[in-house]
């Protein structure tokens, strides 16, 4: 049962412009270190001070990292935006998870160090991609829609590299690295599930109202803006640093 939705009613246009202004203002006001990623002096400082295999602490750090990883959560939000059945949500989230687990583990263990700015810019782009896909831009512009499952998996790989770069920055001691890394990964998945539960509850409320479909277009445009903002911030950082 597909239906075509008209983009941008007048009040939506206003809503989008106001959001844009708020996002721009926020860009100058918010400390971006907290905005994009969850790496804090506290966590890195703690890791430097410890040795050995620490299951619970590393699981906690992984969960915390995912729950404060706004770029990862934004992408997930975009992925499940139009997925109503739990089975579909599970399939896509699992594809994303398999992708990021592969690169999270290999990225840290093989010490693949790609510039964090470039990876985070690609992650920002993943958000843009998903917003465009949701509004059907690819069909309109290119006449076809890239396979969403494949795209979710591939972007999952990039998200994993982003996670790996941050973990390498922690400078984990070699002693117990593999085990601690696996516990960190388990934590990431737990954090992802917790965040998803929250997102699903919130979006389910929204889906019950007629405003969901009315504003779906505008919401994805706002998400696209946030994706571009993330990209811009990371690319600027790459050039400046």
């Amino acid at each position: 049962m597909k239906k075509f939705i008209q983009p941008f009613a007048d009040h939506e246009r206003l809503f989008v412009y106001v959001s844009f202004a708020i996002v721009l203002l926020a860009a100058f006001g918010i400390s971006f270190d907290a905005f994009a990623h969850g790496v804090t002096e506290g966590d890195k400082g703690y890791i430097q001070e410890t040795t050995g295999i620490l299951p619970i602490p590393f699981t906690y750090l992984g969960a915390k990292h995912m729950m404060t990883g706004y770029d990862h959560l934004l992408f997930l939000f975009g992925v499940i935006f139009f997925l109503y059945r739990l089975k579909a949500v599970t399939i896509y989230v699992t594809l994303f998870a398999v992708g990021h687990v592969i690169t999270l583990l290999s990225g840290v263990l093989l010490e693949i160090s790609i510039s964090a700015y470039i990876i985070d810019a690609i992650i920002g782009f993943s958000v843009v991609y998903k917003a465009l896909d949701n509004v059907g831009a690819f069909q309109r512009w290119f006449g076809f829609e890239p396979n969403t499952k494949v795209a979710t998996f591939i972007f999952g790989l990039f998200h994993g590299f982003g996670l790996a770069t941050k973990i390498l920055d922690y400078e984990l001691p070699a002693d117990g690295l593999l085990q601690n890394l696996i516990f960190f990964n388990i934590g990431v998945e737990i954090g992802q599930i917790l965040a998803l539960v929250g997102i699903l509850i919130a979006i389910s409320y929204w889906r019950k109202s007629t405003s969901f479909l009315h504003h779906a277009y505008a919401a994805n445009v706002v998400m696209m803006m946030l994706g571009f903002l993330l990209m811009g911030y990371q690319i600027t950082g790459y050039i400046v640093a």
Binding site: M1, K2, K3, F4, I5, P7, E41, G42, D43, G45, Y46, Q48, E49, T50, T51, L54, I56, P57, Y60, K64, F82, Y84, R85, D133, N134, V135, G136, Q139, E145, P173, V197, G198, I201, S204, Y205, R207, K208, L213, A216, Y217
Partner: protein
């Protein structure tokens, strides 16, 4: 928009189910906050669960690190304001701290100094011993603890050259020996922190072409 299906009534949860889920989510979040997050971030553990799972220690370490960082910033600000002189000045006679046990040692040449120093660290306490060393000069060292491992950080700094921190090596050992070659004129040396539950003593032996040694408190 082509990519959306209108959700069927059965696809979207019923209002009652949603409200129930919301309550459960808020309750679960509260439990996680009090038993996991507060201990892990702040060392605050009302239920004692945080200590059981070992996360309270994480919070305590983070809080102490934050306090030290704040104290450092304050110190840097007041130093800047006072225009404080360089801390470690090259001295003709070795400067000796209270806890030092000086040993009479034969020197091989007038330019080489030898010392043995000892510091005591309570749990979570950290301290530094630094030598004044010119670029390219070396100091041979050996240190050991009386029990347990100490986290160590061998580094250098120079106020004149505006180098705040230059790392040579770091890790966690019960004993270590090696050679430190100064990458620049300044203060170079050892920082130890005790993350065990008991007070430990660290003993350091140094031999080299340094011009002064100081226990930096």
């Amino acid at each position: 928009m082509k990519n959306i299906n209108i959700p069927d009534d059965q696809d979207v949860p019923s209002t009652r189910k949603l409200i129930k889920s919301t309550f459960m989510a808020v309750a679960a979040a509260g439990v996680v906050l009090v038993t996991i997050v507060m201990p892990a971030e702040y060392g605050i553990d009302p239920t004692g669960f945080g200590e059981t799972i070992g996360l309270k220690k994480m919070g305590e370490i983070k809080v102490s690190l934050a306090e030290e960082a704040a104290a450092d910033r304050l110190q840097a600000a007041t130093d800047k304001a006072k225009d404080a002189p360089v801390v470690a000045k090259p001295q003709a006679a070795p400067v000796v701290a209270e806890t030092v046990v000086p040993k009479p040692i034969l020197v091989s040449s007038p330019a080489i100094l030898n010392h043995q120093m000892q510091v005591t660290l309570a749990p979570n306490e950290g301290t530094e011993i630094k030598v004044a060393l010119s670029k390219g000069k070396k100091v041979q060292y050996k240190w050991w603890t009386d029990q347990g491992k100490a986290n160590y950080d061998v580094h250098g700094d120079s106020e004149e050259l505006k180098i705040k921190y230059h790392n040579y090596s770091k890790g966690s050992e019960q004993t270590k020996e090696g050679e430190l070659e100064a990458a620049f004129d300044g203060s170079h040396g050892w920082f130890w922190r005790n993350r065990t539950f008991q007070t430990i003593t660290v003993t350091l032996q140094t031999t080299g072409e340094y011009t002064g040694i100081k226990h930096v408190k």
